[in-house]
C-alpha cells in the first residue's frame, strides 16, 4: 500500500464529547450543538475561526445541513459522510487531510448518532432497494461467528472462551464505571455477564455494545499552528483506512478468526507512524469492541498479542486499565455506548484526555502513544480504520 501518511503534520487542538446514552430529551441537533460548542471552548476558538467541517453520521441526517442548520454555521463547507461504524473516524481522517493539504487552516470533525428514537432493539439500517436475497442476519449474529471459530482454531474450550468474553465485558464496564460520560457507569458482576439473555450464538446481551445517542467533535489544524490554540495539543502519527473486497463470505478459506482489513490497516498505520513493535510501543488503545469476541480478535490483528494468545493476555490482565497495555480505558463501545457516527471521535476523545493527563480516575501512567481502531461491517465483509496519536 502506498499511503505516505501525515505523521506529526496535523494536530488536534480541541475536543468535545457528550455523555453517551439514552437522551430522550435531546435530538441529533441538540447533541451536535453540545459537542461542537464544547470543542470550540476546548480549543478556545469562535465558530468563525473554523474553515470547514466534516460530519459523520450513518442515519441521523443527510447532507451538511444536518450540522450547519442547528449550529447556524455561516456559509462554510460542511461535508456529510458515512462509512458504517467507522464513520466518526472517517470524518476525522478527511478533516485531517484537508488541513494537511493546506486547503484550510482550521477544521472540525464531528460525529453524531441518534439511535434511540427508532423504537427498535439493536441497530437498524436503511439499505437501498434490493433483490431480497440478503442473509437477514443481525450484527450480533455476524460477530458471534468469531467466538466458536477462535475457540476451535486455538483449542480453547467453550467454557474458557465464555470466561474470556466475560472478562472483556467485565473490564470494559469496570473502566466505564470510572467515566462520567459513559452510557453505563456501573461495574457488572461476572455472574450477571455470564447469565445475560442470549442474543446470538454464545453472545448474551452483556456481550453487546450499548445502543445509544451521542456526539463528539475535534478541532484540527496543522502541527505548526497547534500551539496557537492549545498548550497541550496531541499529534496525529498515522491514519489508515481499508475497505476489504468482502471475500470472507464468499471464499471457503476464510475462517472467522481474523479481520484481514484490520491487519492491513494496522500494518499501514504502523508504517506511517514508524512503529515496529505495537505490543511494546503502543501505550494504550481504544478499539472497536462492538461485541466481546471482536475485541479478542482485534488484539491479535492489531499485533498486541501473538496469534492464538490474546485470550491468555486478556485473562492475565494485560489489557486491564492498569495492565501493561490498557485497552478501552474509557469503557469502549461496550460501556461508553455506540452512537455509530460519534464512536470514532469518542475513541479519540479518550486519547485526548489520557495523553493530556486529564482522565482522572482512569488516568494511565505516562502514556506516550495511543491507538484508535474503528471497524464497520461484519467478519468477512468490513471496513477498518486505525489511527496512531501521541504527544
Amino acid at each position: 500500500m502506498a499511503s505516505k501518511g501525515i505523521c506529526d503534520r496535523v494536530a488536534i487542538v480541541g475536543m468535545g464529547c457528550t455523555k453517551f446514552g439514552e437522551h430522550w430529551d435531546r435530538g441529533a441537533s441538540d447533541l451536535l450543538v453540545d459537542a461542537v460548542q464544547e470543542a470550540y471552548g476546548s480549543a478556545g476558538i469562535e465558530p468563525d475561526n473554523v474553515d470547514a467541517y466534516w460530519l459523520g453520521t450513518t442515519g441521523s441526517g443527510i447532507s451538511g445541513l444536518t450540522l450547519s442548520e442547528p449550529l447556524k454555521i455561516q456559509y462554510k463547507p460542511v461535508t456529510r459522510l458515512e462509512n458504517m461504524c467507522a464513520t466518526g473516524s472517517e470524518a476525522m481522517r478527511n478533516a485531517a487531510y484537508a488541513v494537511a493539504s493546506g486547503a484550510y487552516d482550521l477544521v472540525m470533525a464531528v460525529g453524531v448518532e441518534k439511535l434511540k428514537d427508532s423504537g427498535f432493539s439493536g441497530l437498524t439500517g436503511s439499505a437501498p432497494p434490493g433483490d431480497g436475497t440478503e442473509s437477514g442476519m443481525t450484527a450480533p449474529a455476524n460477530f458471534s461467528l468469531l467466538a466458536p471459530a477462535y475457540a476451535e482454531k486455538y483449542g480453547v474450550d467453550l467454557e474458557t472462551m465464555r470466561d474470556v468474553l466475560t472478562k472483556i465485558a467485565y473490564k470494559n464496564h469496570y473502566n466505564g464505571a470510572r467515566n462520567e460520560k459513559a452510557q453505563f457507569q456501573r461495574e457488572v458482576p461476572v455472574e450477571k455477564i455470564n447469565s445475560s439473555p442470549k442474543i446470538a450464538g454464545m453472545l448474551g446481551i452483556m456481550d453487546c455494545s450499548g445502543v445509544s445517542d451521542g456526539a463528539a467533535a475535534a478541532v484540527i489544524c496543522r502541527a505548526e499552528d497547534a500551539h496557537k490554540y492549545n498548550d497541550n495539543p496531541i499529534f496525529i502519527k498515522a491514519l489508515s483506512f481499508v475497505a476489504g473486497p468482502a471475500e470472507g463470505a464468499k471464499r471457503q478459506d476464510y475462517d472467522f478468526t481474523t479481520f484481514p482489513e484490520v491487519v492491513e490497516s494496522a500494518r499501514d498505520a504502523y508504517e506511517q507512524a514508524g512503529i515496529d513493535d505495537p505490543r511494546e510501543q503502543i501505550s494504550m488503545a481504544e478499539v472497536h469492541d462492538c461485541f466481546t469476541p471482536t475485541e479478542l480478535v482485534l488484539m491479535e490483528d492489531l499485533g498486541f498479542s501473538p496469534r492464538g494468545q490474546a485470550w491468555k493476555d486478556t485473562m492475565d490482565g494485560r489489557f486491564d486499565l492498569h495492565g501493561e497495555q490498557p485497552v478501552n480505558p474509557d469503557g469502549g463501545l461496550k460501556s461508553f455506548g455506540h452512537p455509530i457516527g460519534a464512536s470514532g471521535l469518542r475513541m479519540m476523545y479518550e486519547m485526548w484526555l489520557q495523553l493530556r493527563g486529564e482522565a482522572g480516575e482512569r488516568q494511565i501512567a505516562d502514556p506516550k502513544v495511543g491507538l484508535t481502531h474503528n471497524l464497520g461491517g461484519a467478519p468477512g465483509r468490513c471496513v477498518s480504520f486505525v489511527s496512531v496519536v501521541g504527544l
Binding site: 432493539s121 437477514g136 442476519m137 443481525t138 449474529a141 461467528l145 446470538a200 471457503q252
Partner: protein
C-alpha cells in the same frame, strides 16, 4: 396417447398432532412459515425434473392450487424461474377448486397428446377455521408430473378418463372470507356418490378395463362420506384402495389427488393399472397403465420417505401464527423491506434459479455470480454454474435471536459447497439445538417473508431429508 414421464412429490417437514388441534386423530403436514404453495410446487417439480429422459424438454408449465400466493401475478412464472425452465414455455395457473390438480393433470395430458411436454405442479396450503374439520383434516403438500405424448418413454400411460361437472354448493370461499366453508356433508354425499359411480364407470369403459383389473384406486375429494357408497357398487375390493394419507399428511387440497397418485406410483410395478378420482364440484377420473420404464423413473424421494422425514411436535399456537391466523407480538425490529422489482429482475437467475458463476480464468466459483472474480479479479469472464442441487455443508453457524422471523431464532450458517463456493444463508427445517459444523445440507426454495404484498422467494439450506 400421452403419459407421465416423471413425477415428484413434496411433503413439508413439520407435522402437527390433531390432538393438539382438538379434532381428529393422527397428524397433518404443515408448511413451514417460509413455505407456500408456489415454493412447495418448486420442491416437487425439482424432484420430477431431475434426470429427465432424452426427448423430454419441458415447454409448458402448469401450476394448480386453491392457495396460490398471488391472485394476480402468474404463479407458474415463479415455478418456471425457480426450475430454470426456458422462458419460451407456455405457463398457466389453474385454480378455483381442489379438483384443479387432477384437472390440470388431464389438461396437461391433452397438451402432451398434442405434442407438448408439460410440467404440471399441484400444491396447496390448506387453512381451515380454527378447531374445525378442514383445519385438522387438511394437509399441506405438493405433487408434480412431467407429461409427454411422444419421444420420451412414459412410466405410466393414460389409458382412459372421464369427467363430470356439477353446479353445487359444497365447498366455497369468496374474496374476503378468511376460511372456506362447506355445506353439510350428508348433502354432498347424496349428490356426489352417484356421480362418482357413473363417471368412474365411464372412465373404465374408456380404458377398456374392468374394476377388478385395477391394482390401485386413488380416491380423493372434499367429502370422505362420498366414498362410503362407492367401492362396492363399482365392483371394487377394499384391498384395491390406495393409501389416502389422511392420517399422516391430511387432504392437501388441489395437490392431494396427485400426491396420492405419486404414492401409488412409488409402489407400482410394470403392468399395474391405477385409477385416480377426484370429487370436488364434479368428478375427474384418470386411468393409467404403468410401463416397464417405472423402475428407472422414480424420483429421489418417495412420498413415504417425505412422510417419514419430519418433526412432529409443532405447537398449535405456532401453527396458527405461521398461517397468519393468530396475531402475535412482533419482534422489536423493523419489518423487512419489500424487495424491489428492478433488482429482483436483474438478479433473477440467482434469486430464483440459484445460478452462480465460475471464473473462466481461475475456475473459482462465485456466489452470488460476480462480474469480478473474488479470487483472481478477472472481469466479465465467467460461465453460469448451477447450485440448486449441489452438495453443501455447515462451515460454521449461529443462532440469531434478534433477527426478524416467524420462527426465531434465525439459524444463520456459513455454507460451503463441495464443488466450491460459499454463501451465508439461513437454515430451515432444523432443530436449532441439533445443528453442528459439518452437517450435510441441501438447498430448498423458500418464501423468506412477505412485505407490501410481495412474496420474497429465495433459497435456504436444510439438513438432508
Amino acid at each position: 396417447m400421452s403419459g407421465i414421464v416423471r413425477y415428484g412429490s413434496y411433503v413439508p417437514f413439520n407435522r402437527i398432532q390433531r390432538s393438539a388441534m382438538g379434532f381428529g386423530r393422527g397428524e397433518r403436514a404443515a408448511a413451514s412459515y417460509d413455505e407456500d404453495s408456489a415454493s412447495m410446487a418448486v420442491e416437487a417439480s425439482r424432484e420430477a425434473l431431475r434426470g429427465l429422459p432424452d426427448g423430454a424438454a419441458v415447454d409448458t408449465v402448469v401450476f394448480a392450487s386453491t392457495s396460490a400466493p398471488y391472485t394476480e401475478k402468474l404463479n407458474a412464472a415463479t415455478l418456471q424461474a425457480a426450475t430454470n425452465l426456458p422462458k419460451s414455455v407456455t405457463a398457466l395457473d389453474f385454480g378455483g377448486s381442489s379438483r384443479a390438480g387432477l384437472s390440470a393433470l388431464l389438461a396437461g395430458l391433452d397438451m402432451a397428446a398434442a405434442g407438448r411436454t408439460v410440467l404440471v405442479a399441484a400444491s396447496d396450503v390448506v387453512v381451515g377455521a380454527p378447531s374445525g374439520p378442514r383445519e385438522s383434516g387438511g394437509g399441506d403438500a405438493a405433487a408434480a408430473f412431467v407429461l409427454s405424448g411422444n419421444g420420451a418413454e412414459p412410466i405410466a400411460r393414460l389409458i382412459g378418463r372421464a369427467s363430470c361437472t356439477e353446479e353445487v354448493l359444497d365447498v366455497w370461499q369468496s374474496p374476503g372470507m378468511p376460511f372456506a366453508k362447506q355445506w353439510e356433508e350428508r348433502f354432498g354425499a347424496s349428490i356426489f356418490t352417484p356421480l362418482l359411480v357413473e363417471t368412474f364407470a365411464r372412465a373404465l369403459a374408456d380404458a377398456g378395463v374392468a374394476a377388478s383389473d385395477l391394482a390401485k384406486v386413488v380416491l380423493d375429494g372434499t367429502n370422505a362420506r362420498v366414498f362410503r357408497g362407492f367401492m362396492r357398487p363399482s365392483g371394487l375390493a377394499p384391498t384395491q384402495l390406495a393409501d389416502g394419507l389422511a392420517g399422516t399428511v391430511g387432504r392437501s387440497g388441489a395437490a392431494h389427488a396427485g400426491l396420492t397418485l405419486a404414492s401409488a406410483l412409488d409402489g407400482a410395478s410394470a403392468g399395474d393399472r391405477i385409477a385416480v378420482a377426484c370429487v370436488a364440484d364434479g368428478v375427474d377420473v384418470a386411468v393409467f397403465e404403468v410401463s416397464e420404464a417405472i423402475d428407472d423413473g422414480r424420483p429421489k424421494h418417495s412420498v413415504a420417505s417425505w412422510v417419514e422425514s419430519k418433526r412432529d411436535d409443532l405447537a398449535y399456537t405456532t401453527y396458527l401464527k405461521w398461517r397468519d391466523v393468530l396475531p402475535f407480538e412482533p419482534p422489536r425490529r423493523p419489518d423487512p423491506d419489500r424487495p424491489a422489482a428492478p433488482p429482483m429482475q436483474r438478479a433473477e437467475r440467482w434469486k430464483f434459479g440459484f445460478l452462480g458463476s465460475r471464473c473462466n480464468r481461475c475456475g473459482n466459483t462465485n456466489l452470488p455470480p460476480q462480474r469480478v472474480c473474488v479470487v483472481c479479479q478477472a472481469s466479465d469472464d465467467s460461465t453460469v454454474e448451477p447450485y440448486a442441487d449441489s452438495e453443501c455443508r455447515v462451515s460454521t453457524y449461529t443462532l440469531d435471536r434478534l433477527a426478524y422471523s416467524l420462527q426465531p431464532p434465525v439459524i444463520g450458517a456459513v455454507v460451503d459447497f463441495d464443488k466450491g463456493g460459499r454463501m451465508l444463508c439461513q437454515l430451515t427445517d432444523v432443530d436449532p439445538d441439533k445443528v453442528a459444523i459439518g452437517d450435510e445440507l441441501e438447498m430448498t426454495f423458500r418464501r423468506l417473508y412477505t412485505a407490501g404484498g410481495v412474496h420474497n422467494y429465495f433459497w435456504k439450506a436444510r439438513p438432508k431429508r
